[in-house]
Symmetry: C2
Subunit: 331 residues, 2 copies
């Protein structure tokens, strides 16, 4: 079954999840297109509800039944999970640290439409979707076995998605991942030394500089970060300081829905509908004080291939300066 | 020009290198094959020496001239470098940390043969190549402006390579990259708490367990690391404790050449000639004491696509357990 293993040198965690190699693949591993939309075979299309595990949440009219068509948004456990609630006994190993990959791994099916990406949905549907994000975030955060909730979206053949039907995934994790630890560390350091939130400071500086701001609405700023790792990387940062995504308020839900749509529309229009990813970075839910942190969304199109330099050094080489990226997305 | 930029939150460095977007591409960005071998256009093929910057080192018969055919191995500066020796003046910025991406970025052309990968070369040529690695490593390490030397190899369309003709790249960096810092930190901690080198300890444990050892020769062990991030990841670790690759001795050069060939042959035979990468992790050359570190090579085929989960959490999900990977590579 799934294991969390820790590298004895770096302390880095890895999930060993053999089941995932059995996932159905509409996209072949190496990005070569070989699929045709066949809704009879898509487990996320209406009529195929039996192909997924039973739903744990859905937005659906009152007169429809669970696991039957009629739903607007549907949440199901991942059939090939990286994390699961099973607490299987672990073979003891004196050498190396491993533990069960305990946790949640759910799929949020964006809509019943196989081919509508986030930019082509009506705003009111997108608002409902962001609200489902919030509800599942709160649900997982309330489990005392869970330390961190991570929501991600893979769209398109180069994004890491194995199915085409648009969906997000939400993970309830028993550890605080390195990607969050790094941001927590930096945010705490900044708070202690500068008496300010590093994200609030960044928003202020970026609004003054106006070189990297892509779009602004009442509640959010969308900007290309100063040290962008990827071409056309955009962060959507709430103006109101809050460590956790679970605190998002109704006006902000609308603002975020609008921002996601705006960024992905720009990718579609200026960059030719690239595959893309996003994730929500939110404070851990282990009961500690993370008031110094500031939740946000990081979005990027897959217009790069990582080489050995990037893997070996963890330094990304980005050919598109963020100032140039914003210029190109806005023109 | 190239800039090194530091993320204000995580401290993570990024290279902004606009020139690199002008690289010629035999492989299209997203891994779709569209090339035919056309040696008239390959800048790394004999007869096309004028298409690269002048060579800085070569293995060639005495009766041949620099930048003319006849060479066995040729080293040239990268025409589209991520790092360069130019120290251009930097616009001051009060907000964010950036500095010139000062450094070396050279290409080591493995041989005059456009289509021979490392596994299909005669051993004596491979030994010469590893010796060129060593020489360029020593050359860059002796520059006091350089803190770390990183050697990498990208092979095949999904590896991040932009040209097909087999080549390695060697970087002289003005910073110690995070990928090395993480290993240094863990190695130092292990040394201080357990009075041992974590790599030496690992070699001993793995030789006892015999679950993850792929191959062993006089000077090296090739093993699938316990917390393998990628399917079929293999580390080649020297048995003799030494922090820096520059100390490699002649018997070890032969041993390493043989190991590289062996691992890549197994990839070719068992996995269908996948694109692959490797890098050498060696101690920094900034004059400090890194006697607790242990140089090694990390190799992996590109049989995975990273999704938003991996980017957001920095936790890899690996469907192939290392024990299974070794079994499959050896059978």
């Amino acid at each position: 079954m799934q294991e969390l293993r820790q590298d004895p040198i770096t302390g880095r965690w890895v999930v060993i999840a053999p089941l995932r190699s059995e996932r159905p693949k509409e996209f072949v591993d190496q990005g070569v297109p070989d699929f045709e939309i066949d809704v009879r075979k898509c487990p996320f299309c209406p009529g195929n509800e039996h192909m997924t595990p039973p739903e744990v949440y859905a937005v659906r009219p009152k007169d429809t039944k669970p696991d039957a068509p009629g739903w607007l948004i549907r949440v199901v456990p991942n059939k090939f999970p990286a994390f699961s609630m099973e607490r299987f006994p672990l073979r003891e190993s004196s050498l190396f640290v491993k533990r069960p990959a305990f946790g949640y791994h759910e799929v949020i099916i964006h809509s019943s439409d196989h081919s509508k990406d986030l930019a082509s949905m009506p705003t009111e549907h997108l608002v409902k979707l962001v609200d489902v994000y919030r509800r599942r975030f709160i649900h997982m955060s309330s489990d005392t076995g869970i330390k961190h909730v991570h929501l991600i979206m893979n769209q398109g053949r180069e994004s890491g998605a194995s199915l085409e039907h648009p969906h997000s995934q939400i993970f309830g994790l028993p550890i605080i991942p390195a990607g969050i630890q790094d941001e927590l560390g930096g945010s705490l350091w900044f708070k202690e030394s500068r008496k300010d939130c590093v994200f609030c400071w960044m928003l202020e500086e970026e609004r003054k500089a106006r070189e990297r701001v892509f779009f602004e609405n009442e509640h959010f700023l969308a900007l290309a970060p100063f040290a962008s790792r990827f071409p056309f990387e955009i962060w959507v940062v709430p103006k109101r300081h809050s460590p956790g995504f679970t605190t998002i308020e109704s006006g902000e839900i609308e603002g975020l829905a609008m921002m996601l749509s705006r960024v992905i529309s720009a990718y579609n229009q200026k960059l030719g509908r690239p595959s893309h990813n996003f994730f929500i970075h939110s404070s851990p839910c282990d009961g500690r004080d993370y008031s110094y942190f500031h939740w946000h969304v990081e979005i990027f199109p897959r217009m790069f291939i990582m080489g050995a330099f990037e893997f070996g050094t963890q330094i990304m080489i980005n050919p598109t300066a963020p100032e140039r990226a914003v210029e190109m997305l806005m023109k």
